[in-house]
Amino acid sequence: MIKLKNINKQFHKNHVLKGIDLDVEKGDVLVIVGPSGSGKTTLLRCINYLERPDDGSITIDGFTVQGKHPSKRDVLALRRKTAMVFQHYNLFKNKTVLENVMEGLVVAQKIPKKEAKEISISLLEKVGLAEKVNEYPSQLSGGQQQRVGIARALALNPSVILFDEPTSALDPEMVGEVLAIIKQIANEGITMVVVTHEIDFAREVANRVVFMDGGHIIEQGSPEEVLVHPQHERTKRFLKRLVKEPDFAI
Amino acid sequence: MSSGLAGWVDLFIKVLEKLPLTLLMLGLSLFFSIILGVFVAIIRIQKQPVLYQIATFYLSFTRCTPLLVQLFLVYFGLPQLLLIFHIDINSWDRLVFLVIAFSFHTAAYLSEVFRSAYLAVGRDQLEAAYSVGMSYPQALIRIILPQAFVVSLPNLGNNIIELLKDTSLAFTIGIIDIMGQVRIILGNNHGMGMFQIYVVISLVYWGTCILIESVIGYLEKIFKKGRVSLSRQ
């Protein structure tokens, strides 16, 4: 379903992705974990070409976009196969909650307004925002914004959904709901890539886990393999969540 | 008037001699109007009771009436008014009146430039400044205005260039700037050689404008640090 080959990305002198190869099967829920700054977001953004990789190719659903200078049409086609939940939500500030969710359906997918509205409202209800449909993003709490972002991505019903820390602002209750939703749409054959740092969540939602550090994929496998019995020293250290004694004073 | 090369050069030199004066008027007026403009913008953003009404009235009057009329008000009207209080400012240099009139005029336009830029910066930056213990003026100077400044630069450029061209009104009250020089030459020639003279004056203005644009462009480059353009790809 998704096939990344030798993805490289540099910001000035900062080499953020160092030749990433990755395969994701249809219906997979691939979870990417890794320390802050390891390149998870950048990788996700490369998959739908929001970030232009310096090198490498991206294949989604049999459709390949090559290298550094693809045509606009190819990029658009790629993006229409994917949806994304942003780490910083990136809601449309000038649109209400409902319009945020409808926008892609109406404009990109040309679904009639009425139908788009129905889809959107049912999804917003699902994430607990039925009351907020007519508010603007600036009037929402952090968690509410994140849920709008999730609803917006789900509404598109694409082949692939990319989640960048979709539960970072959510309380345990909501995390449960999101977990349920993801599992259910995975059953419907939608492929998902989820970046998260909530290990429990990762364990429950994933059927494959990738551990990244410093722009490399260090380790991958089943959630059990990577998260419970990691092989690499780095992964072990990452997962060992311990309270160190503080050694500094402010 | 001779239209040979010597004629052109001669004309250029004559006009260029007046350029420093034009730049002086521009610089002084700009300096004061930026300060006043920021104040008016902030008063209007904060909607402080009486000040807001005054600022809005000032804005409306200054933007909506001809600059020439404002210049007359300051140059002819103000001294008359002050004479009532036995203050005689008639002996002041004409340049002073001109700078006063232009500063007030341009400040009105700049206040709108700054207001829109301020609002574009967003409240979260102000809150962050508050949270580290800054007062409003500190937040303004260190956080909000530097960011607003970048947003406002192209508009600032627009207005500086307008101001540059407005300085040509100086001649109505007898300050011989570059435009004044041109009018005298034209008059001496009964309007002959108009084409040649307008080419010269246009080139001089354009040259000055290019100078202003380069400075603005340079500032944009420096100040846009930390900002991401949406045309990144």
Partner: protein
């Protein structure tokens, strides 16, 4: 108005930037010269209590300045009409004359007076200035059969003459001096079709300035009397325009520097 300065009283004289040699124009250093200035200097000589200070400015601005008392008087070829006399103080004696004429193509003889121009085309005319005033006065008197006028901010005399030359307008209403001056440069196929009037030209004062106006007026009368102004006219125009029109036409009204 005016103020003490080494014992003399300063008189602020507004001079117009719409210069028209040889009445008033600027030398290399932008100092005003011409007939008007020579006249003012003669006046100043005879009034030891005053010191004249000259200020360039746009004509409208100068009038506003006199109106508000910022300037004491303005000099240019100001014409007189009752409305203006209501607003400003005019002295009794004019200090010179402007000869207005209709300029046409050399091969036509049908235009000699303003009456001939009814239904014909003028090039665009400035909204202000003495020439415009004469045309407006004509139209007021003949409101049933007026001239057709098209206004334009500072039209170029040279361009306007070219319009007449190309047949795009029938005649231009212009001062003889100005026409001669331009003709020297352009040498168009044009001539003075007829002199329309000999217009006295004036200085104007603020109404509060009667005393100064009176003093200057007295001097002006003296200068006319003793022939000083006639000599100045000879110097700048090659003819004494204080004589009557026929004499002037004979002598040729010209500007030879």
């Amino acid at each position: 108005s005016g103020k003490e300065d080494d014992g003399k009283q300063v008189v602020k004289v507004a001079i117009s930037d719409e210069v028209n040699p040889p009445f008033l124009y600027a030398d290399e250093n932008n100092e005003p010269i011409g007939y008007d200035m020579d006249y003012m200097k003669e006046v100043e000589k005879k009034l030891p209590d005053y010191k004249f200070e000259y200020i360039w400015g746009e004509e409208e601005s100068n009038l506003v300045g006199v109106d508000t008392g910022k300037y004491d008087l303005a000099i240019n070829w100001f014409f007189k009409n009752p409305e203006r006399q209501e607003k400003f103080l005019y002295p009794e004696h004019e200090f010179g004359y402007s000869l207005t004429s209709l300029v046409t193509k050399k091969d036509r003889d049908d235009i000699k007076t303003l009456d001939d121009m009814v239904g014909k085309k003028f090039p665009p005319v400035s909204p202000s200035g003495g020439l415009r005033a004469i045309l407006n006065a004509y139209n007021e008197k003949h409101s049933d059969n007026p001239l057709t006028l098209e206004s334009m901010e500072s039209p170029s005399n040279a361009e306007n003459l070219k319009m007449v030359d190309k047949g795009k307008a029938d005649a231009m209403f212009i001062n003889v001096t100005t026409f001669n001056e331009i003709q020297k440069e352009l040498d168009l196929d044009l001539k003075v079709g007829g002199i329309v009037s000999k217009e006295p030209i004036w200085t104007v004062y603020n109404k509060d300035n009667a005393e100064l106006a009176k003093e200057i007026d007295n001097v002006t009368a003296e200068l006319i009397e003793d022939g000083t102004l006639s000599k100045l006219a000879e110097k700048w125009f090659g003819v004494d325009f204080f004589q009557d029109l026929e004499y002037i036409n004979e002598e040729g009204f010209n500007f030879e520097k």
